[in-house]
């Protein structure tokens, strides 16, 4: 497999150019047995459907893919979306600080969510590294930031499937622990300049 045949493309672009069956066939090539949720989001083998595709159509999230155009396979992907953090009981002083003097009626902080991110297990890091996938996802978020503002990025790290080594990887990028969501997930955040 040659790297020069690997393209970076948005799922929206594929939707405009290909019919659903062809898209599903391509998405079904993604394999991630170590992190089944990353695979199921892109293509659910049982339902023969894709949540990523349905989310894209409903503007719920945006998915970007690397596709090996020689073998028609997904090499890697990430999905990003808009998220909010709700805050209760924050002092008026801190609220004003967040909003540069303006006191909001409701207490929300807008954020960008990196909801999914992964590489097909059939492709090793010589094709694409985790660092590259994360950098591309942050670059896409930066494009949105440049248009609509916002600087907070959140990501959930799975305590079950993702080893401490991966948690360290995100921390080295600058992600900090925000809150434990449940037994398996911890939400981390990054301030994007």
């Amino acid at each position: 497999m040659d790297k020069k045949f690997i393209v970076f493309v948005s799922l929206s672009k594929l939707i405009k150019s290909l019919d659903k069956d062809k898209i599903l066939k391509i998405l079904s090539t993604f394999q991630s047995s170590k992190e089944p949720d990353v695979q199921t989001f892109l293509f659910d083998q049982e339902k023969k459907d894709s949540l990523a595709l349905n989310f894209e159509i409903r503007d719920r999230s945006r998915t970007y893919l690397w596709i090996d155009t020689l073998n028609n396979e997904v090499v890697a992907y990430f999905s990003i979306a808009i998220d909010i953090i709700q805050i209760e009981g924050l002092s008026k002083n801190l609220q004003k600080k967040i909003n540069k003097g303006f006191l909001p009626a409701e207490e929300f902080i807008f954020s960008y969510l990196i909801g999914q991110l992964g590489r097909n297990e059939r492709y090793n890091r010589s094709y694409i590294t985790g660092k590259e996938i994360l950098t591309y996802s942050l670059a896409k978020i930066k494009e949105a930031k440049n248009i609509v503002g916002g600087r907070l990025v959140v990501i959930d790290i799975n305590n079950v499937y993702q080893k401490p080594k991966l948690q360290k990887f995100y921390e080295e990028f600058g992600f900090k622990k925000l809150k434990q969501i449940n037994k398996s997930l911890t939400r981390y955040y990054l301030i994007l300049k």
Binding site: F5, V7, F8, V9, K13, S17, L18, K22, E35, D37, T40, F41, F55, S61, I67, T69, N72, A81, D83, I84, I85, Q86, I87, E88, G89, L90, L94, I98, I109, L113, I114, G115, Q116, L117, G118, T135, Y136, L138, A139, K142, R151, L152, V154, I155, D156, N158, F173, G174, K176, L178, K179, I181, S184, L185, R187, Y189, L190, I191, L192, K193
Partner: protein, 62 residues
């Protein structure tokens, strides 16, 4: 990452004061933030440009 991440929104209350203060300080100061290098941004733009060319041919032949 997890599919449920799309459906879960963090809610902070008085009990989470320490975490919230840290987040707000980082948000206000932003000096602790991450900046993508111009080199990386340039590489990504080039990759997107090259991809466009390959993509149109690939889509035609699918």
């Amino acid at each position: 990452m997890a599919t449920e991440s799309f459906f879960y929104h963090i809610k902070f209350t008085n009990k989470d004061e320490r975490e919230l203060k840290q987040l707000i300080e980082d948000l206000i100061l932003s000096k602790n933030g991450y900046e993508i290098s111009q080199e990386d941004l340039q590489k990504i733009k080039e990759k997107e440009k090259k991809s466009e060319k390959v993509l149109s041919e690939w889509i035609k032949n699918l």
